[in-house]
């Protein structure tokens, strides 16, 4: 297996709609996301960032092209395999946090393990330890509606990491937070998520958090315009 590359996109095209309303959102993406680093995907609104990471995660299917993740071609997998693959290898962080309101913080963080097949009780023990690391030791038993945005995003980070995925995909993780909370969340994400065998992909508009990137890919109009190591 190629130890350096987590995700490799080759000629990925995505069309939405058919006929006269057909819109080519991704115009042939060639992109390699390295392992052991945090890679930002930036670009103007509507350029196709969310579409691209959805295809990488197997949540959308590409019109053409191939996506290899961890040396497996997700674009060729059976749907059932894709679901299993997501459960085992991917962690997700969303702009809207997307916590389950009926579960406490620690239960929410445990969900990824439960999805893999753990019992809720044993999953909660692992999730609790991770929440402690994220500075949530006092809020573990609160429910999402009792937590601030920053706190909710920490729970979401715990959920994305608790099952030790090889790839973490995050879409605008700071967009719903104020500057201060956004920076804190990014600091924590960097501390906890960074690992030699893990790739972290962050989609963002928020240039205040660019310093947290190892690599920055810039997208424009359905193409990757540039991919560079981050200077700062």
């Amino acid at each position: 297996m190629n130890r350096q590359i987590a995700v490799e996109c080759t000629g990925v095209v995505k069309d939405f709609g058919t006929g006269s309303v057909k819109q080519r959102v991704l115009q042939g993406i060639d992109w390699q996301v390295p392992i052991g680093a945090t890679t930002f995907l930036v670009g103007p609104s509507g350029c196709g960032k969310t579409t691209l990471i959805s295809i990488i995660a197997g949540l959308l299917t590409a019109t053409s092209g191939t996506v290899r993740i961890l040396d497996q071609e997700i674009t060729k997998m059976r749907p059932g395999r894709v679901v299993k693959f997501r459960a085992d290898c991917l962690g997700f962080i969303f702009q809207q946090f997307n916590l389950l309101p009926s579960l406490s913080a620690v239960e929410n963080a445990a969900v990824s393990l439960v999805v893999q097949g753990s019992t809720l009780a044993s999953a909660k023990r692992q999730a609790a330890a991770l929440l402690d690391q994220l500075g949530m030791d006092k809020n573990k038993h609160k429910y999402p509606n009792q937590l601030s945005g920053g706190q909710q995003q920490r729970v979401a980070i715990a959920r994305a990491l608790v099952h030790n995925p090889k790839i973490v995909i995050s879409d605008e993780p700071t967009a719903s937070l104020d500057a201060q909370a956004g920076r804190e969340v990014m600091e924590l994400l960097r501390q906890v998520a960074s690992a030699d065998d893990r790739a972290v992909i962050v989609v963002t508009h928020d240039n205040r958090i660019f310093p947290f990137a190892d690599h920055i890919a810039t997208m424009s109009d359905g193409r990757i315009e540039s991919f560079r190591r981050n200077a700062t």
Binding site: L60, V83, F92, F94, Q95, L100, E107, V115, L120
Partner: protein, 379 residues
């Protein structure tokens, strides 16, 4: 995963309670109404049940139930007794009489005249008094419920005097009879005595009740009786069924009860189906998140069905408990006396509740199945 499904369900208290109440209400309605229905219609055969010794009933060929009777000629008794396979046969008299209660009010009452010598036709369960005292002049036995209705607020006692069609009757025994369709007051007396109370002259045999000899079925013997006498004869069981079916076919009871039961089922389907759909709809984003994280469709369907099953089980239990309580308490009042919840009604309503739940879950399942996990990245 199933723990999460349950937490999701219980989290939305209002909807959870609404769902439970929907199923419970439906179950209660179905059980209560069908229990009453069965209790009511079986009363149509109560007079037959009260003569357990006889297994053959003989009557005028035109008789369709126990209420519209045409008297048999006295000579028929001898002819029936002469039919091979008939072990014994005795006359039974049945008529309506007017009775004046303790406080002067008039009530409709049933008068049963039983065989003078054997007293066959008297219900087996004697609550108070001695049956043999019926052989005394003017002696009658009264049903427990009848006693309570005629002598309100008086403890059960013997020696009370009633007026049956303005003639004196002395209560010498109190018996427990099956609740009747029309009146809860029943008096029993000797056949000859009964004729005096109604004083209608000859030809007063309402029925001949008989017993088949060992080795012959009541159906076979009944056929012989029909062949030999030209009367109508059938087994006690068949007559009871016929009397019950008469009520089913000729009264509004099945329609009115059927309407309520149908409404119960409809309300159940509508309320539970809609509310469960709403529940799943409101939690659709959560299902999408679980899907994105890597939960298979099978698992998600399992979650939905578990949620539905819990709603169904709890709702059904509450409803059945309510219905049981109803029959426990109401079953003691004279109006509903003898009413109970037949096991097959409970089982049937369980099947209906299960069907409602499966339907609701199937409807809701589609949403979960087709929700696009890619929406998790959208606001």
């Amino acid at each position: 995963m199933f723990a999460i499904a349950l937490k999701m369900l219980f989290h939305d208290r209002a909807k959870y309670l609404g769902l439970i109440l929907g199923v419970a209400f439906s179950t209660l309605l179905i059980n209560q109404q069908l229990g009453i229905f069965i209790g009511l219609i079986t009363r149509a055969g109560a007079v037959i049940v009260d003569v357990p010794q006889a297994d053959i009933w003989v009557m005028d060929p035109g008789v369709k139930n126990l209420d519209t009777i045409f008297p048999l000629r006295d000579t028929e008794l001898g002819r029936v007794r002469g039919v091979p396979g008939v072990a014994w046969a005795v006359p039974l008299y049945k008529s309506n009489v007017t009775i004046r209660t303790g406080n002067g009010e008039l009530e409709a009452s049933l008068l049963i005249g039983v065989d003078d010598s054997t007293l066959i036709g008297l219900p087996p369960e004697v609550v108070m008094g001695n049956i043999d005292d019926l052989r005394r002049p003017d002696a009658v036995a009264v049903s427990v419920d009848g006693f309570r209705k005629v002598w309100r607020n008086e403890p059960l006692s013997l020696g009370n005097i009633a007026e049956l069609n303005d003639r004196r009757a002395v209560v010498v025994a109190i018996v427990k009879d099956s609740p009747k369709f029309t009146s809860s007051i029943t008096f029993f007396t000797r056949y000859s005595q009964a004729l005096q109370y109604t004083n209608n002259g000859r030809n007063q045999m309402s029925f001949i009740v008989a017993k088949s000899a060992p080795g012959a079925t009541p159906q076979e013997v009944s056929r012989s009786v029909v062949a030999r006498t030209g009367l109508q004869a059938m087994s006690a069981e068949d007559f009871r069924y016929k009397a019950i079916m008469y009520v089913v076919q000729n009264t509004g009871i099945p329609i009115s009860i059927g309407t309520v039961v149908g409404l119960g089922i409809l309300v159940g389907i509508a309320v539970v189906g809609l509310m469960f759909n709403l529940f799943v709809l409101e939690n659709l984003k959560q299902f999408a998140v679980l899907k994105a994280i890597g939960t298979s469709n099978m698992r998600l369907i399992g979650m939905v069905f578990l949620q539905a099953a819990v709603v169904g089980f709890v709702g059904f239990s509450v409803g059945l408990f309510g219905a049981t309580m109803f029959f426990e308490t109401a079953g003691k009042s004279p109006t509903f006396q003898g009413f109970y919840l037949p096991w097959y009604v409970a089982a049937g309503s369980g099947a209906i509740a299960a069907a409602i739940i499966v339907l609701a879950a199937l409807l809701a399942m589609r949403r979960v199945l087709f929700v696009d996990p890619a929406i998790v990245f959208r606001g």
